[in-house]
Structures are given as C-alpha cells and as structure tokens.
Subunit: 199 residues, 2 copies
DNA sequence: GCCTGAAAACGGGCCGTTTCGTTTGATCGC
DNA sequence: GCGATCAAACGAAACGGCCCGTTTTCAGGC
C-alpha cells in the first residue's frame, strides 16, 4: 500500500488527481451493475472509487446528474446498414436487446428511467432523449427513405416512437430474451403499416 | 392479495383487519399523490394512517407489496364500446391518458414501474400484468373480431402490446397531454398494419 | 501565506425490527 | 346466556444501521 503504516504521520496526503472524475464514473457504473439500482448510492460509489463524498458532490449536484453522465458515457449499440429496411430494424432490435442484456447499458438505462420518476433533471433529460429525432430507429428509416424503399411521406418519428416504445416495454418488464421470430413478427407488423396506403 | 371473503376461516384472537387495512391503503395512496414516489416511505404512510409501522409490516412484507395492493385498488379506466374499432382505440387511449393525468392512477403506476426496477416482487407482478391477455386493448380487439370488423387471424396480443407500449412510454416521459389528433394518428397507423395483407 | 481538495464528522431521515402496554373479540366455564 | 379468559392485533416508542447532503478539519502545492 502507498499509505504509511504510522497512524501519527499519515503521508497519503492530498494527491492532485485531475482524472478522478473518470475513476468516479467507472466506479458508478460498476456499482450499478453489481448492486443494481437499489444499491446505487453516493456512498457506495465513493467507497468504490476511493474518493470522498464531497469530491463527488463538487462535480455532480445530485445522484441523478451522476447517473445521467454514466448513461451518456455508454457505448452505443450497433446500428446495422444492410440496405433493407426489415433487416435493419430486426437487426437493430436484436443488437439492442443483446446490448441491454450483456452490457451495463440495460442496467443504466433502467435506472435512469426509474430515477426519472422522482427526479426532474433525469425526467427532462429522458424526455428530451425520447423526443430526439436522432434516434437509431429514425436513422434507419431515413436511410430507407433515401434509398426510395419507403415513401418520404412516412412519419418516421411516429414509427420510430412505436419501435422504441416496444423496446422500452420489453426492457422494463424483463423480456429481453425474445427470440428473433418474435422480434421479426413485430417488425413485420409495423412495416405493414408503412406499406399500406395512408388514410 | 388473495380475495379472502371466507368468514369460516377463523382462529382464536382478535381480527380487526379491514378498517385498519383500508386506512393504511388510503394513506399510502395519498402519500404517493402528495409526495410522489420519492416521498413514499413506510414511515410516511404510517404517520398519515396514524398506524404503527409493525402493523404495516405485518400485512405487507415490503414497500413493493404495499404499492402493488394500492395499484390493484385503483379504479379501472373506462373502455369504450362504440362498435367501431378505431373509435374504441382512440377513445380508450384518450380515457387512459386523462385517467393517468387526473387521478392517482398515473402516480401509482409510474411508482410501480420504478419499484419494479429494483424489486423482484413488483417486477414479476408487472411482467404478469403486461403479459396478460385480459388487457383493455385486447378486449377491444376481441370485440372487433367478434363483430367481424377485423380478421380472427390478427395477433391481438401483438397489437395490444404495441398500443400498451405506446401508452407506457408516454406515461414515463411525461407526455400525457397529447391531443386527440396525435393519438388518432398513431391508432390509424397501427390499424393500417391490421388492414394490410399479412406477410 | 494562501488555496485546493481529501478525509472525517455532523445532523437528519428512513429502514426493518423489537419491545412495550393496551384493546379487541372469539372461546369456554359457569 | 354471560362474563372471564386469552390469543392476536393494535399504537407507540426506541433500537442499530445505512445513507443522505453539508460542514469542518487539515495536509500539501503554489
């Protein structure tokens, strides 16, 4: 250990650590994965990061703010680009479910949604994210429009919202293990809405 | 939990259940509405109900269990039956959003979803509810089938799941104030998927 | 000698539980 | 019948513990 064993002369000192923010964010993510949202406390994060609570509160005003930044650091899920809308949508949902299952992203996103139910900062951020036109599904649909695969008059936001809602509900009800057939059935159904003549 | 309307099930000793249980459930709902999910604690409920904490813990093993029973006591939203599928779906979503906005049901359901992210009991219950075939949207679709308005081969569960996902996401992102036009647009889109020939 | 920043301590709230003394109501002896 | 009895449920208080958000203390760098 770096710390001297002599209690009368603790020489561990106050080392300047400009990158401690990274350590705290990594610790926060680790706590979230290992202990879940219920065990996610500033205390636990500080212990894990070997940092003091005031250090965390200096940079993040609330638990929600820390959670938000952990969320924004997440690696993005792969968005396929196969040249066919159906394959892109099915592939994306498959990737997304696997991503949520197998990385910390699922835990983080679930926690963010839960936190948003009692914290205005998280709620506003989540609403902004959900309303954003840059969602992955939106990109897939825009590409299909550019290829001429679907009409430019299709309401991408509406379709993307439906697909995203489907994914959210599966995340929130622990149904991320759907097989490809189920996902494809839903995608096919939604695509029938695209193909049918507008009303 | 289980409806025990059986007066024959008796043993020795005092049984003053109903009054106190009702008072606690009403207090729990009131706390949830007034203080939100963040302020929903057993302590707060006990204070409000002028009951002791042990009384609450005797009947409900956890916060999630109490939340579940509050949720199950909620008045159900009106399910319209106009004889036309489109009007039924639009009317139901309008009713549902208004119900969530204007009664305590929205707060209770949001809290239940949040709790489900860290409590297995709530999670299992929520998943069961979401999987249930007796959902309101499912009833509307079954009625449309019985009238011959849509084919019996339509996957009601899939369509109901899509509609429910849409509603959930709007609840969770504070977008319950959508006007009828937006709701109708989504319903029309989903109905085009019904009308289009299957693949 | 300031200033930065980590560690420790503080006051407060809620948790889930235990321990009181009291109240209720079904059972049973009279 | 009817009152005594006794188990169960009750409200209240207090507990040890954890975590909150803040404040204070103190060691080193400039």
């Amino acid at each position: 250990m770096a710390a001297d064993a002599d209690p009368a002369r603790k020489s561990i000192g106050a080392r300047r650590n400009p990158d401690s923010a990274d350590a705290i964010l990594e610790a926060a993510e680790a706590v979230l994965v290992e202990a879940g949202y219920a065990g996610f406390s500033i205390e636990a994060v500080a212990r894990r990061a070997r940092a003091g609570k005031p250090t965390i509160y200096r940079w993040w005003p609330s638990k929600a703010a820390l959670l938000l930044e952990v969320y924004q650091r997440q690696k993005r899920v792969d968005v396929p680009d196969t040249g066919r809308l159906e394959e892109d949508l099915v592939g994306f949902l498959k990737n997304l479910f696997a991503h949520w299952r197998e990385t910390s992203s699922g835990s983080v996103f679930r926690s963010l949604i839960a936190e948003a139910q009692s914290d205005d900062t998280a709620s506003a951020s989540l609403a902004g994210y959900a309303l954003g036109r840059r969602s992955h599904t939106g990109q897939i649909l825009e590409r299909a429009k550019a290829r001429g695969e679907i009409g430019v008059d299709i309401d991408s936001a509406l379709v993307a919202d439906l697909i995203a809602s489907f994914a959210w509900k599966h995340l929130l009800t622990n149904r991320l293990d759907e097989d490809e057939a189920t996902i494809r059935k839903t995608v096919n159904y939604v695509m029938r809405g695209i193909a049918a003549p507008g009303k």
